[in-house]
């Protein structure tokens, strides 16, 4: 339990550092990409703000957990519960297979309309498949 508390504390500090670093990076980027198209600047701002909001949300959650022993214990049980772990593993496995299959279909369909989109999707699909194979090899050696 103490180990879990330390883990939550570490996560809280990481989120705090992330918020600071992301805000700094954003303001730096604002000066560096002054001449970038509005769409690109908007995308960067959107992603940065979105990730900052998530980090702040997590910070509040971790702070509440650290101040309430009962909630901390509940969270510990929830995160170490073997059924929950099995569910998330199964979810990730199924989701990645479905995602790969849908991307393959999208590659075929988009091939009729746009060469650029089809090539991009094919590259993404190949990268995903390669990452899956590499991660699989890693765990085969680890276990």
């Amino acid at each position: 339990m103490e180990e879990f508390k330390k883990k939550i504390q570490r996560r809280f500090y990481l989120c705090t550092m992330y918020c600071g670093a992301a805000s700094g990076t954003y303001f730096l980027l604002q000066h560096l990409i002054k001449n970038a198209p509005d769409f690109s600047r908007g995308m960067i701002a959107g992603v940065m703000v979105g990730m900052d909001v998530i980090a702040v949300f997590l910070m509040i959650k971790y702070l509440m957990l650290l101040r309430n022993e009962k909630k901390l214990k509940e969270e510990y049980i929830k995160s170490t519960d073997e059924r929950n772990i099995a569910i998330s593993k199964e979810t990730m496995r199924t989701a990645s297979v479905v995602s790969l299959m849908l991307t393959a279909i999208a590659v075929i369909v988009s091939g009729f309309f746009s060469k650029v989109i089809a090539t991009t999707l094919f590259a993404e699909m190949t990268a995903s498949a390669l990452i899956t194979v590499i991660v699989n090899i890693f765990y085969k050696k680890k276990m």
Binding site: I77, K78, T80, D81, E82, R83, N84, A86
Partner: protein, 68 residues
Amino acid sequence: MKNRIQELRKVRKVTQQELADALSVTRQTIISLENGKYNASLTLAHKAAQFFGVSIEELFIFEGEENL
């Protein structure tokens, strides 16, 4: 794999939440175990057997080649 968790829990008048707390799992896991929707890991099976004071074989009934 069948198990006698519900039976032993009722005999000992233990609630699902109390059992979940004792085994450090969620109540939903106990419900799934009792319904046979989820098979416990060796660690959880050991903890549950210890809690009820029986052997793993007495608590979990292995019915041949499941998931093989």
